[in-house]
Each structure stands twice: as structure tokens, then as C-alpha cells.
């Protein structure tokens, strides 16, 4: 085994030669990730509010959260990109299909994060705001949400890093993202170790950068508590 490790002739030049492709793919990955994060932040909040709403609305929110948390991205993206398109002629291009799938799946997680955060706000806050004469919407916007948001940030950023990683699955339907470019370059050079190591490093760096930014953000947001 060790002898093989030593005799394998590494050819890292394929990584340099592939860089223009990987760079193109990286932009697609970043675009998909950012769009999905933005949409699922909004949709997640809506779902959380629906989930905490009255009777039948709560049931819909509950079902939404349960179903979309139970699906894997790979299964869901095949369903959206091929299944729904074939049966109902709803045609997404690969990037849109990726964004739609990532948004639906992650908004379910984000809804639960928001819900936990909103419920963590002491009821007294809301009651105080209402007794000052603020309407229920004004209370939510000015009192409850700003506090809940701070509680939710670390978990939401965790979700952000999950979206970065999950986005690699969109390569399975031919979206020209970082992963797809890597697979394609591998079929060209047939150098799987070098190419996939490079890709792993790129994803790792993205995740670490986002995690680092989030810990700074978290510290800033909690400065007033110190």
C-alpha cells in the first residue's frame, strides 16, 4: 500500500489547467448558494409565521416543514428537474431548478430556527409592547423579530454552510457548477485524486470563510449584552 502511495505519479498540473473551468463553476456555485440563502431566509420566515398561525394554517406549515425536512436534495432535484417538468411541462433551467430545490428544502429548516428563536423571546416583551398600544404587526417588526433574529443568526449561518455543501448535488442534473466542472475535467484528464482534492479544498475554504464571518457577526450583535 505504501509503495503504491509512493509510486503513484501525482500530476498537479491538471489542477492548474482546470482552474479556468473550476473558476467558472465556482461563480455558478456562489450564485446558486446566495440566491438560495436569500430566498430561504424570506420563505423560512413566512413558513415559521404560518406554522405559528391559527388552526389550519398551522397544519399547512407543519406539513411543509415535515415533508421538506424529510427529503434529500438529490431525490428532490431529480423530481423537480425531470419529474415535474415531464408531467406538467413546468420547465426550469438547471440553475433555477437548483435554486428552487435548495430554497424549498432549506426554508423548512430555517422555519424551525425562526420558530425556536421567536418562541425564546419572553412573552412579557410582547405583552408590554401591546399594552403600549403597538399593533400586532408593529410589535413583531419592532420588538419580537429584532431580538429573535439575533438568537437565530448562528443557526441560520450553519444552514448557509449546509447550502454551500448541498449545492454540489446540482451537478447530478448537469448544472455547470464547481462540482460539475470538476467531474467534466476528470473525464478529460482522468486524474480523480488531484481534481477532487482541489475541489474539496475550495469547498472547505468557502465554508470556513462563511463560518468565520458569522462568528464576527455574532460577536458584534451581542456586544450590547456584554
Amino acid at each position: 500500500m505504501t509503495s503504491l502511495l509512493l509510486t503513484y505519479s501525482y500530476d498537479w498540473s491538471v489542477v492548474w489547467k482546470s482552474l479556468p473551468f473550476l473558476e467558472k463553476g465556482l461563480f455558478v456555485t456562489v450564485r446558486i448558494t446566495l440566491l438560495s440563502v436569500a430566498f430561504s431566509l424570506v420563505l423560512g420566515l413566512i413558513v415559521a409565521l404560518v406554522r405559528m398561525g391559527p388552526g389550519p394554517l398551522a397544519v399547512i406549515g407543519f406539513v411543509y416543514v415535515q415533508v421538506f425536512r424529510a427529503l434529500s436534495l438529490y431525490v428532490y432535484i431529480l423530481f423537480v428537474y425531470f419529474g415535474i417538468a415531464a408531467a406538467f411541462q413546468i420547465d426550469f433551467d438547471p440553475i433555477t431548478a437548483g435554486v428552487v430545490s435548495l430554497t424549498l428544502l432549506n426554508s423548512a429548516y430555517m422555519a424551525e430556527i425562526y420558530r425556536a428563536a421567536i418562541q425564546a423571546i419572553e412573552p412579557g416583551q410582547r405583552e408590554a409592547a401591546r399594552s403600549l398600544g403597538l399593533g400586532s404587526i408593529a410589535t413583531f417588526v419592532n420588538v419580537t423579530f429584532p431580538q429573535a433574529w439575533r438568537i437565530a443568526i448562528p443557526s441560520l449561518v450553519n444552514q448557509f454552510t449546509d447550502i454551500i455543501k448541498d449545492s454540489s448535488i446540482v451537478a447530478a442534473i448537469g448544472t455547470p457548477d464547481l462540482m460539475y466542472q470538476a467531474i467534466e475535467r476528470n473525464s478529460f484528464y482522468q486524474r480523480s485524486f488531484e481534481i477532487f482534492t482541489a475541489v474539496a479544498v475550495i469547498y472547505l475554504l468557502m465554508v470556513l470563510v462563511v463560518a468565520q464571518l458569522s462568528s464576527r457577526l455574532e460577536k458584534r450583535l451581542q456586544r450590547h449584552l456584554a
Binding site: 503504491l4 425531470f82 438547471p94 442534473i173 482522468q190 469547498y203 472547505l204
Partner: protein, 554 residues
């Protein structure tokens, strides 16, 4: 399952709650609504108006191309020298030269829609593109769902590459061996008939199938003669099985069913270029060097569409016949999607078996992830820097790498440099165990930290050894704390396990893809897979919930 009667009304909204089907429809309609919203929102992405086969509206794709001056063509550009991207990323190769020339003759700009080969057929049915820009083997089952040109683009001679040091000298010795193939290719279908006793591993990428043989995990790969050169230059140890090709396949463009106007034009274009020797000349240009090196027999497309021996080894028997002008099974079928739930209901047990594969993989991955995670957490909390720092780095790395990247890196990358020939199931388990261990480490760390330090001191002061303190005092309390988050991790791993079909593990998604390639029913099969996954996850979540209640301290 009585779903087939309900299928036609699947688009209608439904008011009554909450049986399982309505739950699904809710999901689907939510998906559609939000999808439309997202579509509107991502206008920057290059979405253009629906390409869904225009035969529906009575207009031919050809008319649409001529009026819009653009054509959406479905391709997989990972097959040098037939179709691939050159060093600057432009499509090239025998096939692409022809397709580009054809589009130039029409005065139309091609738009390439890239989809992995095995999914191209689902893509055609889903209206992702107007026509396939590359060729597919003419198969009777495919002709039921798509319209082939009746003139071939190329003939594909099927040959065998053997693993290094193989003793096989004749194709008859392949019975009982393990054979790697490209998923959805004609090699996959015909090999099953030719070698009924062999076992098969179909891969989404041909490079992966070849790699499987180069690492010795499979005995042979059945592939086209034009793939031999690139495979041999990447893995020089592979052995070409000498002798005549196993068989010869005709390949050509695949179009939407019923669009005979487009087909007639494509037929004529191919016939014109074949009589002008363009097809044979292209074949010589792109395949010549490789064929000379390995003495392979190959056929170009002659003036009448008949196979013409190009060069290589001795001709093997009579030259194969050209395909009939029109396949008997090609007939008009309305293009609106006909739901056929029997595809699923007839094979329900196969789907369940496939799901079981996912569960098994997830269970093994989870067990290893727990073991690694626990050990790592103990190192991390040891307070000794030599241990805790590597342990910290490990967690960051494992949580930062996508499962898909990890999987390909282990299965293909590691296999090449270490010669560690994991089976595909083992590779999936390892990938899950490694990514999972990043999470379980953090869970165990939190669990160990949550046990009051006084407990440890008390146990030590009554004379328990360090091992006993951990075994009898700390760990039992830790377990109560870690069960709920570990349960969530398991569910996460189960969902992750569904990507195993990408390295040819025969799970439920793999089955769904296989059915698509022959039966073209993406909606039914992917719905089935999604339903099974949701049910499984609900079940395991319920188990975790019950455990959590039982273990809770009074």
C-alpha cells in the same frame, strides 16, 4: 396502491386534509407555486421560454428553430473523441463537428443543454431541449418515447477492456465476471443479454466505469472502440480483448416523438453528408490514431448509410446490416404526458429493496460515525493539546467538505493513489462515516461537557479508576443527552445515503434512473422515491422521539 386511477387528476387542487396523498399534493403544489416565484426572481439565469416539444401546438421544432434562430440541444460532452470540450471549453469531436455543421447549414445558433448521459432521456421527455445534439443508440424501447433519425450518425463497435493482469482471452470467459458499463448506454442493455451470468455495475460517467476496472474492482468494462484510446492512456495497464467487436450499434439523433418534419430534414442532411464522404472522413480524422495503436476494427457511415470498414484489425465476419429505414415501433403518440403508475406499482417490491439498501448504508455509516465521533470527542476534551488540536482540525475539515465530493474523492481518488479498492457500498459507508463523524464529535463533546464536573470528582474520590469512572458514571449520563441529536444525525445520513446511486450502488434512486432510461417515466419513479424517503424519515424520527421520551430523566 390504487394511485393509478387518481393520476390524471394529480394537477387538481384538493381541499380535504390530511391523508398522505393530499399531503404530497400540498407539497407538490407548494413546490410549483414557489418555483414559479423563484423562476420570476432569477431572471438573470438564462431561462428562455418553454422548449417543451412543440409538436403539441402542431408546430415543428424545425419551424421554431428557423424563426427563433436558436436551437436547444441536449448534450453530454464527456466522451472524447466523439463529443467533448477542448482545452478552451468549446464543444468538439466527431459528433460535435457534425452537429455544429448542421446548425450552420440551418443558420441557427446552437445552445448546449448539458445533462449527464443517463439522464438525457428523462431530459427529452421533460422538454429540457428540442433535440439531442449527440447520438443515442437506436433501441426499440427508446423509439417508443422519442423519434430517431432513420439515418445513422455513427456505428459503434463494442469492445472489452480487461483489468490489469486478467487471464481472459475470449469474451465467452466473461460469464460470471463483474462488468462495469455506462449507465443508460446500449452496452448496458446488450451486455445483460450477452452475459446473463455476469454481474453489472452501471456508472453515470464512463471515466468512472473504466476506473473501476483499472483498480481491479471489476473484471472488465464493455465500451465503444472510440473510448479505448483515452482509457488506455489514462490507465496503460488495461488490456484490450482482441478479436472481433462484440456487436455493432447504430447511433443517431433523437427528437421529440411525432416531429416527422424535423426528422425528414435531419435524415436528408445526414444522407447528403454521407454521400459526400464527410461521415467516413470525420471518423478517420478523430479515431485514426487510437485505432492504429490498438488494431481495432471500426466502421464508418458509408454513402447509403451502410457500415463501411474504416481500418484496424481483420474484419470479423460479415459487416453488420444497416438499420431498417423506420422502426416498426415508431408511431404517433400524443405528446402530453401519459401517467403510467404501473411502472411503480408493478415494481413496488424492487423500490422497497432499493430503499433497504439506503437504510443499511446509513446504519453502517452511522455506527462508524458514532465510534469515530466518541473517540474524537474524548481526545478533544482531553485538555492535551497534541490531541485536541488535530481533533479540532478534523472536525472542521469533515464538516466543510460536501458529501458528494467526499464520496468521489474516496471512491476514485483514494483508490487510484493507495490502490485501496473499496467496493462502492464500502466507499459510501466511509464517506457517510467521515462526514457524519464531524457532527457526532460535536454532539459527544457537548454531551461529555454537560455532565457536571463534580460527578467525575466524586467518582474518582470514592476510588473508581479513570476507565470505570467513564464507563459507569460519565458515559451513561452522556448518552441520555446525546440521543436526540444523534437521531437527527442518523436521519441526515439516511438522506445523504440516497446519493449512492451516483457510484452505481443499486438503491431506490438507481432503480428509478434505470427505469427512466428504458421507460421514460420520470414523474412516477421520482415521486415513488420521494414518498418512500419521506415515509422512512418519518418512521425514524418517530423512533427517535419515543427514545427521547423514554430516556428523559424523571
Amino acid at each position: 396502491m390504487s394511485t393509478e386511477q387518481e393520476a390524471p387528476e394529480a394537477q387538481q387542487s384538493q381541499v380535504a386534509l390530511p391523508n398522505r396523498r393530499s399531503v404530497l399534493k400540498l407539497g407538490a403544489s407548494a413546490a410549483l407555486g414557489i418555483g414559479a416565484y423563484a423562476l420570476a426572481a432569477c431572471e438573470t439565469s438564462n431561462s428562455s421560454p418553454g422548449t417543451t416539444a412543440s409538436a403539441q401546438s402542431g408546430e415543428s421544432v424545425l419551424d421554431k428553430w428557423l424563426s427563433s434562430k436558436t436551437a436547444k440541444l441536449g448534450v453530454d460532452l464527456t466522451f472524447p473523441p466523439i463529443q467533448f470540450k477542448d482545452a478552451s471549453g468549446n464543444p468538439t469531436g466527431y459528433q460535435m463537428e457534425l452537429t455544429i455543421a448542421m446548425m450552420q447549414d440551418l443558420g441557427v445558433t446552437p445552445q448546449w443543454v448539458e445533462i449527464p448521459f443517463g439522464q438525457l432521456f428523462a431530459g427529452l421527455v421533460a422538454g429540457k431541449f428540442d433535440m439531442m445534439g449527440i447520438s443515442a443508440t437506436i433501441l426499440p424501447s427508446r423509439a417508443l418515447k422519442g423519434l430517431f433519425s432513420s439515418f445513422p450518425v455513427f456505428y459503434e463497435s463494442i469492445v472489452v477492456l480487461l483489468k490489469p493482469g486478467s487471464s481472459v482471452t475470449d469474451s465467452s470467459q466473461l460469464a460470471g465476471k463483474k462488468i462495469a458499463v455506462l449507465q443508460g448506454s446500449s452496452q448496458e442493455f446488450s451486455s445483460h443479454q450477452l452475459f446473463p451470468n455476469a454481474s453489472f455495475s452501471p456508472f453515470a460517467q464512463l471515466a468512472d466505469a473504466v476506473n473501476e476496472v483499472a483498480t481491479g474492482r471489476a473484471d472488465a468494462v464493455v465500451l465503444s472502440e472510440f473510448d479505448v484510446d483515452s482509457s488506455k492512456s489514462a490507465h496503460p495497464d488495461l488490456v484490450v480483448l482482441q478479436g472481433p467487436p462484440l456487436w455493432v450499434d447504430a447511433n443517431t439523433y433523437l427528437m421529440p416523438l411525432g416531429d416527422y418534419k424535423l426528422q425528414a430534414w435531419v435524415n436528408n442532411w445526414l444522407r447528403y453528408n454521407a454521400t459526400h464522404q464527410r461521415l467516413v472522413a470525420g471518423w478517420k480524422k478523430w479515431l485514426g490514431p487510437g485505432l492504429q495503436k490498438y488494431k481495432l476494427t471500426t466502421y464508418g457511415v458509408g454513402p447509403g448509410g451502410a457500415p463501411e470498414l474504416v481500418q484496424g484489425g481483420p474484419p470479423a465476419g460479415p459487416a453488420p446490416r444497416a438499420p431498417a429505414t423506420r422502426s416498426a415501433v415508431e408511431r404517433m403518440i400524443p405528446l402530453s404526458y401519459a401517467f403510467d403508475w404501473r411502472v411503480v406499482t408493478d415494481r413496488w417490491h424492487l423500490f422497497v429493496q432499493g430503499a433497504w439498501v439506503d437504510v443499511e448504508i446509513a446504519v453502517f455509516g452511522f455506527v462508524f460515525a458514532c465510534v469515530i465521533g466518541l473517540l474524537n470527542a474524548i481526545l478533544r476534551t482531553s485538555g492535551v493539546r497534541v490531541f485536541s488540536i488535530p481533533s479540532f482540525v478534523y472536525v472542521q475539515v469533515m464538516r466543510g467538505i460536501p458529501l458528494y465530493v467526499m464520496l468521489l474523492w474516496i471512491y476514485f481518488g483514494i483508490a487510484n493513489i493507495l490502490g485501496l479498492n473499496f467496493t462502492n457500498v464500502q466507499a459510501m459507508v466511509i464517506a457517510l462515516a467521515l462526514t457524519g463523524s464531524g457532527y457526532t464529535t460535536e454532539i459527544f463533546r457537548a454531551g461529555l461537557g454537560a455532565v457536571d464536573r463534580g460527578q467525575l470528582e466524586a467518582a474518582r474520590s470514592i476510588g473508581l479508576s479513570r476507565t470505570r469512572t467513564y464507563g459507569h458514571v460519565i458515559l451513561p449520563q452522556t448518552f441520555r443527552i446525546v440521543v436526540p441529536p444523534l437521531g437527527n444525525t442518523f436521519v441526515g445520513l439516511l438522506k445523504g445515503a440516497t446519493i449512492c446511486s451516483l457510484i452505481a450502488v443499486p438503491d431506490m434512486v438507481f432503480l428509478a434512473n434505470e427505469l427512466n432510461v428504458t421507460l421514460f417515466t420520470p414523474f412516477e419513479v421520482f415521486t415513488a422515491v420521494a414518498v418512500i424517503l419521506v415515509v422512512l424519515v418519518f418512521f425514524f424520527s418517530a423512533v427517535v422521539y419515543v427514545l427521547e421520551r423514554r430516556l428523559r430523566l424523571p
